[in-house]
């Protein structure tokens, strides 16, 4: 199964949140989730994700 490469797509964005369309292109950027979420509706068919210059270093083990 092919991977979805967002490396080039996210290269310009170092912080905040981005909106990505079905062609995996950034169509919107905002500093926080609220701003971006209020700007779009479900019909726009986008996916929101946080922008970061470096996504590495995330170690998750949440025991509760």
């Amino acid at each position: 199964m092919k991977t979805i490469n967002l490396k080039k797509t996210l290269a310009k964005y170092q912080s905040g949140w981005v909106a990505i369309n079905k062609n995996f292109k950034v169509v919107g950027h905002a500093k926080n989730f609220r701003t971006l979420a209020d700007r779009y509706e479900l019909k726009h068919k986008i996916v929101l994700m946080p922008a970061s210059s470096d996504y590495s270093g995330l170690v998750t083990r949440f025991h509760g």
């Binding site: 199964m1 991977t3 996504y55 995330l58």
Partner: protein, 167 residues
Amino acid sequence: MAKFPYIVIPGKDKDIYLPWISVSLDYPKTHKVTLPVWALIDSGADSCLCCLEIGQWLGIKFKKQPQKVFTAANGEQFSGFKERIKMFFSGKKYFCDFYFSKSIPVKSPIILGQNGFFDQPSLHDRWPSRSNLVAPPYFSPLAFSREKEYYRFVCQKLLYQDQKRRK
């Protein structure tokens, strides 16, 4: 076995491959539904976690919610507010207990863990075994066309049942 595309994103030294799926969260009390957001499938997490920012947008009143203390991989403790959320992915909806916390890293705002995601009874028939589970099968990372996805899901499920029957 579960199959789904990894998302390749930039890392410090090399590219990062993450099992991300897009989910929409619906808070029934306010009827607010988020747009699809990438969520990390994390079998190492005991519960489903979400950043406080998304919870605030959903209109959750956090002062009234029960809290639970979690321990992260580095031993640090943090608390999360519990709330029952309706989650949409792959054209289906599931009720799930989420813990909202400020301590959830922004890089991964939604974490789908064991309790609430992996233990969904309605999902159990969609994967062969929980013991070797990485992620749910028949999954499309983007919930753009729900009808199309549902059709694909049904086709794959029928195929899976057929393969199981042959074994």
